[in-house]
Amino acid sequence: MNGTTRTTDYLFQVYRTLIAVLLALALGFVITCFVSEMPLEAFGNFLLGPLTSVRRFGNVIEAAIPLVFTGLAVSIVFQASQFNIGAEGQFFMGAVAAVIVGIVLPLPGVIHVLVCLAAAMAAGALCGWIPGVLKARLGASELVSSLMLNYVYFRLGVYVINYHFRDKEAGALVSWPIRETSWLDQFLQPTRIHWGILVVAAAVVFVYLFLYRTRWGYALRMTGLNINFARYAGIGTASVIVYSQVLGGAIAGLGGAVEMLGIHRRFIWMMMPGYGWDGIIVAILARNNPLGVVLGALFLAYMRTGADIMARMTDVSAEMVTVIQGVMILLVTAQAFLAGWRHRIVVREATRRKEVPQSEGAA
């Protein structure tokens, strides 16, 4: 009897997410009609634009890569029922660390890349360790600390780049370029898709196996599902809280490095790039499932790319997509959205089941 309810539950979540997406898109279209002289063309560009050329579709993949990293980082911590608003700063510091190693160390090809990635993971892990340990030892809300630390990390990163690694000959506030030995090569012309795609695939597989196939992932999930139960069963919940934040930080930092080594090749951000916040959206859409994160990131990247194309080709600005995004997240996270529909399904299934005589009732 349990199998059916579980499948229903799962299908319901999938339908609900799809309906939320459709409603949000519909609302986006209505708004477009108000602001645009050519709503059909604008929306057509938005929805189908990314499919019209290899380069544009490449843009989707490029944009999805950092979102997968931050989506994974946030999902790991969310699965432990901890907040993580710190992926932004961790991603940022990972990029800073990778760029410094990329500029400073003279190392041969592949090794240089690996050292950059390792440095970025270490930097991200350290950034995540702080809110983790503050929570575990002092009970400080990781929501507040991870949020506020973002600004600390951002200013620290900008200071280090501006005062120690700034390329004074460049026309803008950017760092020296990193050495070519540290590049993740772009291998698919005319797109900018780079070997970081292998790193991202490895990260997804790693996080999936970690969460569902290791004792540490098990301890993390049990802590997230019921922390009292985990403590009662003898799981060290304080250490779970710390290592979930450390691991999340490392993955976010890795994402920052991949973005630097694969796309920009020098530090260019003088504002927060926002990948950490987007990671939260991705994790919510994916319901913290690492495989779902890939789909969520691709979807968000597709919308972003479509919005860019729409802005370039028509009179509607790219910010339209943030409206759609907002409505979508609101509907996906709203517990009551379609709850009545779900309840009717449950009632129908449950009463129908009751009519079939079954031995389980006697339990």
Partner: protein, 539 residues
């Protein structure tokens, strides 16, 4: 007969798919005491929650005084004259009795509460209905029996004509139960109608005029109490003949395996919750801890299992000091724990049965042959325990939240008993589960005892604690007030007097009981081990 309340074809399905009520017809006559009985999970409480507006029925109608009513919230129910006394009291502990009674209907003087008027009103009401309470005392300081009267007064002040009492005797001593029944008869004489939810048939037989029996979310029968025997009713409840007996071979206690010495706990509020509790659990015996809930049992269990730090005293497991150790360490020393609240501590509801079954042993080599966990080993372990502990489910991959209360408890018990413990700390192991599961768990506990495990059984259910225990102690106000070397020689009434704090044994009497239990061969070494601890203790 003149029906005051009629509920017709009530169906209620919970979001997890559990059909709690299925087309239930329920009718109560004016001026009767109507018992609503059934096993835990039969749907009694749900039906009453629908009546009181705490749950919305998916189908069905409610008629009150002949008119169709739509009870959307408790305040609507109250305005119709329906009152409910919940199993867990809804009182503000830091306010006085009078303040609780008038809460929301406060007599005012200017913008302030008129305290005198509130006290006067409460006392008048208490006298009128013969429900004596101490109107000026704070609720946190009064005994459970009086809190229940406060709840009843609260409902009466709000004009309740129909009063629903959800398992009112579960928290009472035998003496308090007698008082409650007198008050209920008095209420009936004054024209009130009472719905009495219970699964204690002796009480139902004693107090009620008619009985409605529920099973599995349906009504299986309505009888006049005078025309049915306890056996008739229990057969309707369970759907088969029940034998309320557990085979229990005599105990063969061995060495002391858990020793508690002068355990003290001061709560954050400054209240002394445990005032120097000492006792010893031996291998191969069940030591029962009786007492009205809230006399330190919960805290005692939390300290013994590492969930709470004591303020003083020692806990020794097999001679090793584990005072203040974390739950993991205490488990590794051989202590299993069946917690009072299975949903808070005992299980992760969304996780699968097999995941729940490895929670305390997830680091074991058995499940982690290399870096990755062996899902096969986890599944085999889960399926084996599901079979051995008769957990009713299709597969161990089912989430725990899909199971009935009794089966969830079996998951907890399966994990805890299969951990190969030296000591089992069981707190209310049969709370809120059906007769079948209760029997099963009792049998398993006795099996463990007979194989040499020491068991500490904490229970507010007198019947349970008396039938299962070999020795028995009573906890009152954070102290051990009685210790009986043979639980089978104690009567309920006698136990009740100790539970109420009316009687208490002297330390000498209890020491005598302890010595009697220690017997010949365990005696000398026991005394030896004990003397230094007393000398160096926190005196």
């Amino acid at each position: 007969m003149d029906a005051l309340l009629e509920m017709k074809r009530i169906t209620k399905v919970y979001p997890n798919g559990v059909v709690a009520n299925e087309s239930v017809d329920f009718s109560v006559a004016r001026g009767e005491i109507h018992a609503l009985v059934g096993e835990n999970g039969a749907g009694k409480t749900t039906l009453m929650k629908v009546l009181f507006g705490l749950e919305r029925a998916d189908e069905g109608e409610v008629f009150y005084k002949g008119e169709k009513v739509d009870i959307t919230s408790p305040s609507v129910a109250i305005s119709h004259g329906i009152g409910m006394v919940h199993q867990h009291f809804m009182l503000v502990p830091s306010l006085t009795v009078a303040e609780n009674v008038v809460l929301g209907l406060e007599p005012r003087r200017g913008i302030f509460l008129d305290v005198k008027a509130a006290v006067r009103r409460t006392e008048e009401l208490a006298e009128e209905y013969n429900l004596p309470v101490n109107a000026a005392a704070r609720v946190e300081d009064i005994p459970v029996g009086m809190r229940q009267k406060v709840e009843i007064l609260k409902a009466l002040l709000r004009g309740a004509e129909l009063l629903v009492l959800d398992e009112p005797t579960a928290v009472l001593t035998p003496q308090e139960t007698v008082e409650l029944f007198a008050a209920l008869r008095n209420l009936r004489e004054r024209g009130h109608t009472i719905i009495f939810i219970s699964h204690k048939l002796r009480e139902v037989k004693e107090i009620s005029d008619r009985v409605t029996v529920m099973r599995n979310g349906r009504v299986v029968g309505v009888v006049r109490t005078a025309e049915a025997t306890e056996a008739d009713i229990s057969r309707m409840m369970v759907g088969r003949e029940v034998v309320f007996r557990v085979e229990k071979p005599p105990a063969t206690p061995g060495r002391p395996v858990m020793r508690v010495e002068d355990l003290r706990l001061v709560a954050d509020s400054g209240k002394e919750v445990l005032k120097g509790v000492s006792f010893t659990v031996r291998t191969g015996e069940i030591l029962g801890v009786a007492g009205v809930e809230g006399n330190g049992q919960a805290e005692l269990v939390e300290i013994l299992t590492g969930l709470r730090q004591p303020s003083g005293g020692r806990v020794l497991v097999d001679g090793e000091d584990v005072t203040g150790a974390d739950p993991g360490t205490i488990r590794r020393r051989g202590v299993s724990h069946i917690p009072e609240d299975r949903m808070t501590y005992g299980a992760a509801a969304q996780a699968t049965i097999r995941e729940n079954l490895i929670a305390d042993r997830c680091w074991s080599k058995r499940f982690n042959p290399r870096v990755l966990m062996s899902l096969k080993a986890v599944a085999e372990h889960g399926e084996a325990l599901v079979r051995e502990y008769d957990i009713r489910t299709r597969s161990s991959a089912t989430p725990v939240k899909m199971l009935s209360g009794g089966n969830i408890q079996k998951v907890v018990v399966a994990r805890e008993l299969s951990a190969d413990p030296k000591v089992i700390v069981a707190n209310q192991p049969n709370r809120g589960i059906d007769v079948g599961a209760t029997e099963f768990i009792h049998r398993k506990l006795i099996e463990k005892r007979s194989s040499g495990v020491g068991i500490l059984l904490v229970s507010a259910d007198l019947n349970e604690v008396m039938t299962l225990s070999d020795r028995l102690l009573v906890l009152y106000g954070g102290e051990v007030v009685a210790l009986f070397p043979d639980a089978s020689e104690v009567t309920e009434e006698e136990l009740g007097l100790y539970m109420l704090g009316v009687k208490r044994m002297t330390p000498e009497e209890m020491a005598g009981a302890e010595a009697a239990a220690a017997g010949g061969r365990a005696g000398p070494s026991d005394a030896e081990a004990r003397s230094p601890a007393v000398g160096g203790g926190a005196r």
